[in-house]
Symmetry: D2
């Protein structure tokens, strides 16, 4: 179990079969950094073009299509004193006839709000007291917006969107301590990560969380011969599955089907038992609703399993 300290020198704005920046063994830990969605690093300098630039990819020895990549999110820490959000909801999340009433910025007005991040206090504070919010402080809840593995059949998919391979899911449940499972779709899995948020509302409906660069530590391992269809995860209280598609109804179909399968293959449930349990115990969370593809997460509490 080696710990690799990796300092990125370039980034990718799609997740695909790029040349690996590092090869690791199953079980190894990687300590690295990510730039923010706009390409700015810990010093606030723009070092790569905008659009959710990814650190990686990391090649995991022995990972082959048909396996599962296990990603433990060991540490996710904002590493600079400010982050930014947009100030207007995405037009596609309001009623079409309300779009003209959104606060469209004037020609020379900034579309961004700056937030001061205080890791010690665990807070983000809006650096603008001119809105009706006044001094507005929220608790930090750092999460990773975009991560995953290279897709199948040589695809390279924009980090603006998401699919079976993961991608820009913007699910606020992807926090420190969570374990995430991705289907391995190409040799070495080719893990990418980026787009850290100091905190975020459901759906990323202003088209950003509080965008910020991160110090990241992840541990990658391979489950050989374990075939899954969509990203999965677990935290202390829940197992969950992730459907990435559009519209949301299809996300629900993907995530629900994946959970039905999981309950039957790994938790000893017969079909009727799995259906009854899901019917009365399932919970759904909304990930991204702003992107081309959206995300719905299907959760089952661990307390009802076994």
């Amino acid at each position: 179990m080696t710990v690799h300290n990796f300092q990125p020198t370039h980034y990718h704005t799609n997740i695909g079969p790029h040349a690996p920046v590092l090869r690791v063994q199953s079980g190894d830990t990687i300590v690295t950094t990510t730039v923010d969605a706009g390409g700015q690093d810990a010093s606030g300098k723009q070092i790569t073009p905008r659009g959710n630039p990814m650190t990686g990819p990391f090649y995991v020895e022995g990972a082959e299509p048909g396996d599962t990549l296990v990603v433990r999110l060991d540490k996710l820490t904002p590493n600079r004193p400010t982050g930014w959000t947009r100030k207007m909801l995405a037009p596609n999340v309001v009623d079409p006839d309300y779009v003209t009433q959104l606060p469209w910025p004037g020609k020379d007005e900034s579309t961004l709000a700056i937030w001061n991040i205080d890791n010690a206090a665990g807070t983000a504070t809006l650096d603008d007291t001119t809105t009706s919010l006044g001094t507005f402080t929220l608790p930090l809840a750092p999460m990773v917006g975009c991560f995953g593995v290279a897709p199948a059949r040589g695809e390279a998919i924009s980090t603006a969107t998401s699919a079976q391979h993961g991608g820009n899911m913007d699910y606020r449940g992807f926090v420190e301590g969570v374990t995430v499972y991705f289907p391995v779709l190409t040799e070495g899995a080719l893990f990418h990560i980026g787009d850290g948020h100091a905190l975020q509302g459901d759906g990323e409906i202003v088209s950003t969380g509080i965008e910020i660069s991160f110090d990241v530590q992840v541990t990658l391992s391979v489950q050989k011969g374990k075939r899954i269809g969509w990203p999965r995860g677990e935290n202390a209280d829940y197992i969950f599955t992730v459907g990435n598609a559009r519209p949301l109804d299809q996300c629900v179909q993907h995530a629900t089907t994946e959970m039905l399968r999981w309950l039957q293959t790994d938790f000893g449930l017969d079909p009727v038992g799995a259906n009854i349990l899901m019917g009365q115990c399932v919970e759904y969370d909304l990930g991204n609703i702003f992107d081309p593809a959206c995300t719905m997460v299907c959760k089952v509490p661990k307390r009802v399993l076994r």
Copy 2:
């Protein structure tokens, strides 16, 4: 503030401009009962045809289109020892190519599971130990699946679905203690209620919660001249708005727009402030995803308001 004890003698399977069963003053409390979704009462006897039969409608004196009806859910108590659920997920909530793998019941097999309800212990226990779930017990969380007011322009809308007037929203957040706001769309508001669930998973994905008859107490009052677009609600921790439509993306649009309006009219927020706050603080819950119309709930925590 009068308390009315009302014993229903007939029920409606659509919400519309039916003859009122009782006229009450704004602020009055109604103590009554509801049958279950299948038309069975507290004794388990089928006394009216199936399909979410409604108790009511109740006419609230002084309520006119352009007002808001305030419904306080004072008491929601299952009033018999058993409830029932379906045993197979609705085909529309799984991937189309998985539909054939659902546990379709054999010709003479029951599609229903029976649950024993223990109000004292606060539990529902599956009355069938033959599935892999074995003895399976869940905590009660009684909620009302279908309620609302008569729609506009003389419509009478099936209790299988939902819209601006409320209806079959199947949101597990509609529990005892919650206050719900409906737009008054016709004279007297004409409040209907029914379809109690002893508990339910998100989405009502097996097409039922644990269906059961209820003892119900609600307090109805009118906010004159308060015009809202969609159902709203509040509990101890959140204010929330409810979008009923299909697909889910459109529910999100309705609920989000309604919340934007509410924050600006009642919570002193300017447009930019409301947009920034929603972007980082909003949460969404899934109500019904099985019906013709689905439900998404947009929530803002009270702690970030003011």
Copy 3:
């Protein structure tokens, strides 16, 4: 086969179990008139509130749930010299971020364009030469926007939308000479008709066709014991089925399933034959895309049947 001349005295803006204005025998013909979507009659006078007011309902003796109502559209003739359209696309048919670029009318500007209708010449000409269209003339193609039968379980559904019972489908294929089939959902079928268009583009994307009052002749008959699920129709070249729902993908599902059933029950096709034929011969038309519910029409050419 009686011909009834019926002069309406009141109208309905929902399709439901209203008192019949006339009772006819199966096979009878009705000659009547419809007002335009705004409630204006042949003289241009507003005689009833706006919102697709319906003429009817007509009770057909012997029609019962489980039967089919056959509606032959014998004559559909605009009966006044002007019609009107809106001048801006509905915000929901363009990209959300384009909505602000639509030509929103100024405060005191009319949202309507007037068209001169010449039945003899068979033309509609825009009565406004100030736009870049100059003198703009189109061929008439009169069609009925909204018609159908009373829904099941006592529902009364707004004429703004559509469902199994028909309603506001706005399909430009509903022209003179076409035969339409509706499922009978309540006793007497209760046929309603209105919302004539001198012509219309697909989708009714400006939220109107050329709205105009009509002289109408229809012949109604009952097919006893013929059970269908969605509106069907036929013209000289095609049989077709109509799916009314939202989103469009679900309209396609409804219409396609209904066609699959029809091919197997009435055209002697086995399941594999019906599937192969539809795969290579099916055509789809778009009806309304502006309403709460949209419409897709599934067509099979008669030349490939038998």
Copy 4:
């Protein structure tokens, strides 16, 4: 204007920034071949893996992001005596509760139907007289299912789906004689083409047209500085725009917005004129509805322009 005869030696199952197989000048013509969706060539031999393998990419000198690539489909000719289709509708195009009633093939049954192609007679005849269709012959209508240019930001998008760059649109209007316009998104445009159909129903609802290898002739040219957002095209009677997304409603939004822009930039229409014209003259066609992304085509008849 050079004519290049190009014989492919390898194929791609995604459209992306692959090494060009040929560099041509703007205005040049390419004569080449395509394999069928399954990777089979003119002799029926499988020479490359299945999944809509593309011939190309062809690099057009001088094409840069912000330009438009003009593709004239000069010749599209099936070049072998048989093609194939599937025999069952895709489960996602029928009602979810009808899925189990589709004619699922038995374990050892073929899912494919073979069709005999007669270019001289212009017919395709089902090579199976055991279904209720008997001897079943349809007129040929050769079209190209999947073609387009490399996407932006280095993406490589599966030929199973479609987006701004084109891709698997399966629109039966892409026939010989049609001119198609693609936004150039990367240097050289990198044009790919494949997936020929001898004929196809709307929507590709059995998940195939009659799949067959083609002799292809296309002429490629560049419009410098002409920026478009989505694929466009024109034939003798119509100009049209193509929206590729999911659900269909969003395809309509993309295609409609693109047409609104086109009418205003190239056909001398002011915003109100463009809106009025589209409202009453627009037509929509359905391309693919089976894929992850679907396709809707927005058409305006040339006779109403100018």
